[in-house]
Amino acid sequence: MRRFVPMFRKEFIQMRRDRLTLGIMVGVPVIQLLLFGFAIQTDVRHIPTVVFDESRTPTSRDVIADFENTGNFRIVANVDGREALDEWIAKGDAQAGIAIPHDFPRDLARGTTALVQVIVDASDPLSSQAALAAAAGVAQMRNLEILSAAAHRSELPLEARVRPRYNPGLRSPNYIVPGLVGVILTITLVLVTAMAIVRERERGTLEQLIVTPITNTELMLGKIAPYVGVGLVQMTTVLLLGRFVFDVPLTGNVLLLYAIAFVFIVASLALGLFVSTLVRTQQQAMQAAFFFVLPNILLSGFMFPRQAMPAVFQWIGAFLPLTHFLKVLRGILLKGVGVPELWREMAILLAFALVLIALSVRRFHKTLD
């Protein structure tokens, strides 16, 4: 294995000098982290809201204030008619509208059901759901107050006490950042390895290497081993930035996380090796890698819950190593669980790594002959 060392050393020098590779290795994690960490928030707040208050009474203003106090609605305009309200929403200047009819205070005083109409722009499902939930909450709070006063009860008959475990603040970054570790490793390792190998083929150096005494195994290991280090550095960067910039907790055994990450990294590198045997140029390698990245982001459970997907897509997702690595990441980082809870994911990742290595090594050797 002594020829592995010069291969390894050469790869590091090249990595340092290749702007594209460096850019992918350093740029992708930082940009992704900032994009996903700051820009993507699944808890929708401050929905721009337009109000049409036909009754103009202290009671109606109270109700509007209730809506505003939830933090989900931000009143951007008061209008004088239903048509004007619809127009605001149609234009997209507001995503929700609150209409309080003329009869509202009278109905309320009489004890019949008083209506407040809430219109939401459901072309954006995420924010409309938040608006619907908040609106329902506002009405319920009001109802409770009125009914308990009428029943002369100061205590509620029933309460569902929900405890959001593992992420009590329901913060998006806590969910996104651990997942991002896996996504970044997948993207960069598959892409960078594939490109590094294809580059040798493109430039004719692979042709030269196979007439030297270096064995296929030494060649392959020397080629991909440096990227294990790259993966670990990327992971550490994202975890540190996540911890200190986004305040994401590192609850569990970080050592165990690194051990499992190592297996995941090896699986990703093997996949990169596999891609390199399918393509002839660096450009094709890039295209193939991006083709592969999309299902990883969409189906792995990184952004969208897998439980909500049709069974077929859950199955496809199960064949992505990232899906299982995400469970490990969130399990260890957020829940602080260990081997007893995660052994299944660990076994699956190990199986992935072994199968991928066996497949891609065979194919790689074939392309050399």
């Binding site: 020829r3 010069p6 090249q14 042709e207 007439v211 270096i214 002959d369």
Partner: protein, 248 residues
Amino acid sequence: MTDVAVETRHLTRRFGSMVAVRDLNLSIAKGEVFGLLGPNGSGKTTTIRMLCGLLAPSEGTAIVAGVDVRESPDRIKALIGYMSQRFGLYEDLTVAENMDFYGGIYGLEGTSRRGRTADVVAFLGLDRRLNQLAGTLSGGWKQRLGLACALLHQPTVLFLDEPTAGVDPAARRGLWRTIKQLAERGTTVIVTTHYMDEAARCGRVALLSQGHLIALGTPDEVARQVGGHNLEDAFIILQERDEQEQGA
């Protein structure tokens, strides 16, 4: 070891039903400069690939530097040097780094690597370019560096596969001077080329056509055997004959 550097006996290679090299018998002496000539598809590349241990013969065998290519193709790789027309250089590494890398790949370490590197650098006059990136070298210098990398481990047999494609005339002349010097020191050099003036500089040449050995001997002998005044004539006669046969 005897004075024979390369010997092939009934060397044959088939790809499916196509015979790329048929019953090739060659004996190349130590220190000889030997030219492998022939139009595209004549079997030159297949022959070289078999002699380098990259491709197993279908029939027959070859002994290169005393090693049987069928029995231990991997041992051969340590005894031969190979340079293709693309030179196999890493353009983002410097001259010194390229030599370091290939030295390491050939298992040279420590003082022996430094000593060999210094020798080769002096031999090829690379000393003033050591820290230049290989990608910024001219074609001629790239060729010298490629040769340097192929010579670090002191190969017994050196294969040059169209080594002067895309290189200026002065560099071509320089390379041939180097080849002569290497041969005088006992290295066997096997060259493929499309330039017949270069082929004329070889001690002996083998002319291949469609996998057959058509003629073998000194450049003059070969020209006469095929029926031309010189090698260039012979080559063209051969190529036209090939094309006619393919047309028929």
